[in-house]
Amino acid sequence: MSQLSQKHLLGIKDITREDIELIFETARSFKEVINRPIKKVPSLRDITIANVFFENSTRTRLSFELAEKRLSADVINFSSSSSSVKKGETLLDTVNNILAMKVDMVVMRHSSPGAPHFLAKHIDANIVNAGDGTHEHPTQALLDTYSIMEKHGSVEGLKVAIIGDILHSRVAISNIFALQKLGAEVMVCGPNTLLPKYIGSLGVKVELDVRKALQWCDVANVLRIQLERQQIKYFPSLREYSLYYGVNKRMLDELDKEITIMHPGPINRGVELNSDVADSEHSIILEQVQNGVAVRMAVLYLLAGGKA
């Protein structure tokens, strides 16, 4: 097969293992392209993509924009802070107005879970979910698993621990789906208050002690504490969180094996991850960022590929 089973990329839950493998295979070709002297290919020459961001983002937005430009697509950017959304326009109206200007694809980030699914039901353009609230962030999970595969050769059979604020994390949910589809064992680790109640139903191991989680895993994906989503106190203080759950060099030295450290960014240095780990040879954080462009190029290319 050389085509995805879906017209949109709304979440990892909706796509198949074959889809993920096709995206990885295509991303490998694009990674070679973005390391050439001339990094641009003309594939999406006649396609216009709108990046619609109702929520802040640096990495994801830059990464998508770069991916679109390297594919020669025309790009328009929209952020809610400087738009008519402030004047009370609905989501559907906003997007329909953008589409009326003949836009082929929409990359959307929104703070409400399910917003891209709602759009997909009402409009024709291909939709890529760039994060919807605390629900899914599919391209992040794809680039995370791609980076793991690149480092370890395969994801099958690996033990991956996701550590930190699982409750508010769309990255965690999408990663769990992607890792399980590719045959990895997944563990989540964090304070009880930051683990969702239903987490057991996803078929993952749950661990409260971060040292035990690190000892168990081959790869640790450390997540950011999302203070902006926490309306109540989930732990007494950041200092206390960092004492119990912060990953530092000493903890890694105490293990009897080497593990790979990942972080989707932005890092709260000294909270969930210490600088001596983030900048160490264990960390593949910057590889994740580089792979992000290649993986997003692959997703856009494959979604745009069907007959116009």
């Binding site: 097969m1 050389s2 490998r28 070709s29 002297p37 001339i38 494959l302 116009a308």
Partner: protein, 182 residues
């Protein structure tokens, strides 16, 4: 049975030998020449010719593989996108003579895409095209090969089918078939 054998192992060897001799006549010791096979099928022929040339001339010759998928002009005009293959051009083509190698030349559109893709690796001094089978009277672009294995007159409903040992087939066989019959 609408299936006609154009080349078999014996004839293919003779043809490849002749193509190599023609290349040697024009490129001497291949000091400034690189060979690039076009994915997916041209690479087998490129390897064949490259290995033979290295043996005959006793020199090392640059060999690369070029994938043209992202440069095709039929993106979004087919039902499914074409699957990408690996590109491997581990040398600088700036100021070199490049010989592009493909198995079959039909409309000329892949070669057009290949020339676009190649420019990402530098500006070659000269580009030549070598094809095993040249389907005459079917070009949609002004592109003609410099080295031809075999000229074939074909119709639109026909197709050239290439089966090479290097791809895992038992024998080298190149067929002219009708598209309906497989």
């Amino acid at each position: 049975m609408q299936k006609k054998l154009i080349l078999d192992t014996h004839l293919l060897n003779i043809t490849v030998n002749r193509l190599c001799q023609q290349l040697i006549e024009n490129h001497g010791n291949f000091e400034d020449t690189a060979i690039i096979g076009l994915q997916p099928k041209g690479i087998y022929l490129a390897e064949m010719i490259h290995d033979k040339l290295e043996k005959d001339t006793g020199t090392k010759i640059d060999l690369g593989y070029l994938d043209t998928t992202f440069f095709r002009d039929d993106f979004r005009r087919r039902d499914t996108p074409v699957k990408a293959n690996a590109t491997k051009v581990p040398f600088i083509i700036e100021n070199k003579n490049v010989v592009l190698i493909d198995d079959v030349l039909y409309t000329g559109r892949s070669v057009r895409a290949a020339m676009d893709a190649m420019i990402a690796f530098g500006r070659p001094k000269k580009v030549e095209l070598l094809v095993l089978v040249n389907r005459k009277y079917s070009r949609q672009l002004p592109i003609e090969p410099d080295y031809i294995g075999k000229d074939v007159n074909t119709m639109d409903f026909q197709k050239v089918l290439v089966e090479l040992e290097a791809q895992g087939f038992k024998d080298n066989k190149i067929w002219l078939i009708n598209k309906e019959s497989k």
